[in-house]
Symmetry: C2
Subunit: 678 residues, 2 copies
């Protein structure tokens, strides 16, 4: 086993080397004018100011949880917790660092080399994040396999997943609050009150807004998928023993445990190939190049999975599970596009209904969001069905391992997926820098085009993140049942129903917290921008510089303060239910949170994306265009959609995964107590 | 058993006699001026035009489902289906008829006799609906017990519940679409475009709007609670055999089956006493009188349940279940009030945040709606816990019967609850008639005061309706497990998880349908009102009469047309999942729909109620009062909230109950097939 694990580690290292090479290439590109360097310097400074403050808190959290795990469970799990957390932090740091290199160089590439060059720089910046996420995740898990014996791995590797999850909380929830507080604050005072355009350097919150793209949309999204990536592999490892005994001796536990790592290794190599093949053609839609890369990477994984499934596990059935996961991931992305892109009828309908005012904008947007849940849920259901029953035919009891493999399959091309997703905020930032540096309009046109594609890829990425969170949480739920040794978690047991109700309630409560947090933080930002405009009239006149750092500071403080309550909730809820009501009730809670959470997350993310693009559609000239009453109505929709799609919706991914991994890690404790009153 | 069942029938008859006496008393009251009679005549005409059209479709639906049940299950169940449906229709007809008598007489009582007299007429009109719902429900179920032997009752009585559910679909969903299409249409053209006040007789949609109060808020709400009322009793009856065997011979099945009917009989008598004791004091808050009546009725049920629990079933444990249900019902009402009344901080916060525009109105309202789910869910969980474990101590396996008794307890005072709830729309209508008949301002002040209290009682009623739907659906879910004979519906079975996902998705899909329906129907209404204003300028000048009937017709047609898809969905979804994926998957689906549905319904109803009252709070003078920008922002919130609280939210109650009862009725079929692919 250890020999094969070394292969996985090597593949991870290949991915990381490519990431470093790309990063070096990016750094070598020209940064453009002094003004551009200055602006990009502000953004970098703000982003690292946030990270630095965040790290201080993270260290405390990591230490507390390390001790908690060590005392309650065992110290190896605690140490793996630290590994999972530290690698997550590293991936975020590395990826975001390069993204802040990439933004200004993308702007300059658009200025000097045109569309194609700009696409290349922006996409490669995203690719570094993608390869860092997948590479460090696989590297860590591979090293765990290499260094520890299998029994210890199975017992303790969930700690690694918990580390990934708890850091994702900071990345996705904290980052989400940061980015939207800055965005909403900058928009409401700048665009609405002062009447200055977006990304205008006179707006004191404009740097915070651009920092937010990096903090929330690059690092936050990366930490979310890093968590899913590790979680899916970990779940398969913990189910390997069940799978091997279900196989009736066809393969042993070690093979079943190493198989997901090998598939992840294949996925990294496939992603590297896909990434290197992404090349824009001058004049063609950049989306085509990105899609081609994704399809190539997926195709490679499909073919190799068929071969390895038969070679390692003795049956093609396992490749069906992996392919099912991959297909579901791609399908959810496509469905998301249909509901959130202005090329399709849902967005157009919202724009049309906005003619009767903002109330109908909201009603129809919520309607679209609700309706958009139907097909993803059907896809996920079909995927679960295929993965389960295909593998269950190999041997009774194998199905749960099959579901975990579906999650592994869906996430195998994470390197590519994150690359495409992170390309969006880099382009967005590049546009901001171009605007603030007053580059010629032709440059803005290029960055706008890249940004428009980036909006769609970001929406698709959000759908993918939710789908992968659902499958990962489900796979971890299977691990939970294996670890607790529960033979059934029956809905006919009222304590399970109580758990189900509480679980379904948690995403609603969590969303209420995160939405209120954005509101509160945005209000502080509004006050600060107003204060600066009042105290120095030279700011709006363009003669004196606004105090960017103070706005960055407000977003930073607010984000870190506001994530405490929802963060604690995600950790305490499973502990409380597990200890008080027992492991069965906790199983019900996890299922309830999973089902309701996925629905709510899909609704919020897609409604938000649809509102955003309905606004863009009207700005493109429909129904009176910019400045019309219809446009004003769509702006209301977009503002409501901002926390929906960038804070609350994606944060639910973290909630459901984090609660599940906490349950898996502390399962021995719950079983020992058996429920104080349950 | 039959002897005791006769007692229940007698109590039901007492309730119905009191209803008839009250109705006669109301009819004797003076209708006021000719203008008042004319207006009230229009409303009656419109309401009955809707009913007539609705009945035509209902007859077809009843016949089809009768044949379907007859062929697939058995003909006795089919006949009981017809009984349940016809009694629901009768209750709706009788109650709404009297409500349309009551509105004009309330207006006249306000004019002639003052506050106290008006309260009396309005409340008694509501009381007729309340006693009709409970009286006819208990009469029907009592007669079933008297006429059939116990084995047949247990086997077939679910058909009665299905009848109640399928008619509630028409009442709540159709009525909900009707009332909001008229309301939103009337408001958007009348108030916003033409600048005429609410309830102005020049508005062609004004009669449709007032008809909607009767159709949706009186008849629709009544049919919803009729369904819960019957469903809870039916569930307890079907679980009687399990309960009796769990009791180890302490009581037999017949006693366990008759006990819920006797508690319902006690509830009716208690409601009659409560209703007759409601008396307003001149100058005091009418809410106090209504609350006093509710507490008296509940108190009587509590005391008698303790006595009967011991006397009939040999243990006080069963009264704990009943009291748990009652307390949860009252508690949810109180919590709803806290989140939706302008006396508390949530509504004030929405008003405050509306100062920064309608986007923040929406965000904070949704936040309040989401947060408002927490305590009701905790109350329901505690209620389930108490009811289950208290009765489970009597004998292992008794707990599910205990949960059904909790539902019976919560709904035992339905007569009183519906009376308080239906009083709201009657007062609202009275206000409309006073406005349209140009009665002096003092009269409007009285009706406004009654209406304000009515708004709160309506919001509380909505919370209660959701809570009772949750508990009833859960009880019926227990019946489902008993009927299918499933020993477990385990979340470790992926087919159950697939069911859970699909189930959680259905309320979102259903809400999307109903929200879009309101939008579409409101648009038709807007077009029609604009057309009338254009084609005859005399309408706005007040010299010629608008064509009210045409607007009534539009709402009627739209409501009936738009409810087809969601209605079919609610019936087909459980059939499809049960037949294709099998009874276990269906169990998962029901649980998923229950959990997600209750959450979504609570969120929508409470957000809607909070927005409504935030608007009223601003209209009361806060943050600039009527006409200010803050007011405009709150109007947007109120408009979004209209379909939330009066169509989509309450319709989910029907969805979860209807799907569960369909599953119970067709359970033998699903068990026989065993799932085509599951």
């Amino acid at each position: 086993m250890k020999g094969i694990a070394v292969i996985a580690v090597c593949a991870a290292i290949v991915g990381l080397i490519v990431a470093v090479v790309l990063a070096t290439w990016i750094k070598k590109q020209d940064q453009g004018t002094d003004r551009m360097k200055e602006i990009s310097g502000f953004i970098r400074e703000g982003a690292f100011a946030f990270l630095k403050r965040e790290y201080k808190i993270m260290v405390i959290v990591i230490l507390i949880l390390f001790l908690l795990i060590g005392f309650c469970i065992n110290w190896t799990t605690g140490i793996l917790y630290i590994c999972g957390a530290v690698l997550s932090v590293l991936a975020g740091f590395f990826g975001m660092n390069v993204a802040t290199w990439g933004n200004v160089r993308t702007a300059n590439a658009a200025k000097e080399g045109g569309m194609n060059k700009a696409l290349k720089v922006a996409f490669r910046s995203g690719a570094v994040m993608g390869l860092a996420v997948a590479g460090l995740g696989l590297f860590g898990l591979g090293m765990v396999m290499v260094c520890l014996n299998l029994a210890t791995v199975v017992q303790c590797v969930t700690g690694f997943g918990f580390g990934a999850s708890s850091m994702a909380l900071f990345g996705r929830v904290g980052g989400g609050i940061y980015t939207k507080a800055a965005d909403v604050g900058a928009d409401l005072v700048g665009k609405v009150e002062a009447g200055i355009p977006e990304d205008d350097p006179r707006n004191p919150a404009v740097i915070a807004d651009n920092v937010g793209d990096n903090v929330g949309d690059v690092a936050g999204m990366g930490s979310d998928l890093y968590e899913s990536y590790c979680g899916s592999i970990i779940s398969a490892i913990t189910l390997a023993a069940v799978a091997s005994s279900a196989s009736g001796g066809i393969f042993d536990e070690a093979t079943a445990a190493i198989f997901p790592l090998i598939m992840a290794a294949v996925g990294i190599i496939a992603s590297v190939i896909g990434i290197l093949l992404v090349r824009g053609k001058e004049g063609s839609n950049p989306a085509n190049a990105l899609n081609a890369g994704t399809y190539i990477a997926s195709g490679i994984v499909v073919i190799v999975s068929i071969i390895l499934s038969k070679a390692m596990l003795g049956s093609y059935a396992f490749s069906i599970a992996i392919i099912a996961g991959l297909v579901v991931g791609v399908a959810i992305g496509k469905i998301t596009e249909i509901y959130t892109s202005e090329d399709y009828k849902s967005v157009k309908k919202i724009a049309e209904q906005s003619q009767t005012g903002s109330a109908t904008t909201i009603i129809s947007g919520l309607g679209v969001g609700m309706m958009s849940t139907v097909w993803p849920i059907i896809c996920i259901s079909v995927g679960i069905f295929a993965a389960y029953f295909a593998t269950e035919t190999v041997g009774a009891g194998m199905g749960m391992y099959g579901i975990a493999l579906a999650a592994v399959g869906m996430l195998s091309t994470t390197g590519m997926t994150v690359a495409v997703d992170a390309y969006g905020p880099v382009s967005d930032n590049a546009g901001g820098i171009a605007e603030m540096s007053e580059l010629p309009e032709g440059v803005r046109n290029i960055t706008d085009k890249l940004d428009a594609v980036g909006n769609t890829t970001a929406a698709i990425g959000k759908g993918f993140a939710i789908g992968s969170a659902a499958l990962t949480a489900l796979a971890l739920f299977a691990s939970y049942s294996a670890v607790t040794g529960l033979s059934a978690i029956s809905l006919l047991n009222p304590i399970v129903i109580i758990g189900l109700f509480i679980g379904a309630m948690l995403p609603f409560m969590f969303s209420a917290f995160t939405m209120n947090s954005v509101g509160k933080a945005a209000n502080q930002m509004i006050e600060e921008v107003r204060r600066q405009f009042r105290s120095d009239e030279g700011i709006l006149a363009g003669t004196s510089k606004p105090d960017y750092a103070h706005c960055v500071d407000i977003s930073t403080q607010a984000a870190l303060k506001e994530m405490i309550v929802p963060g604690l909730m995600a950790i305490i809820a499973p502990l409380a239910v597990g200890i008080i009501l027992g492991p069965e009730a906790l199983g019900g809670m996890l299922a309830g949170a999973l089902a309701a959470g996925v629905l709510l997350a899909l609704m919020m993310a897609n409604a938000g994306g649809a509102w955003d693009n309905a606004k863009k559609y009207v700005e493109g000239g429909a129904y009176g265009g910019k400045g019309s009453d219809t446009h004003k109505a769509t702006v209301v929709g977009d503002t409501v959609g901002d926390p929906f799609k960038d804070t609350s919706g994606p944060s639910i991914n973290i909630l459901i995964k984090l609660m599940t991994i906490v349950s898996v890690v502390f399962a021995p404790l719950f079983v020992a107590i058996g429920g104080l009153i349950g």
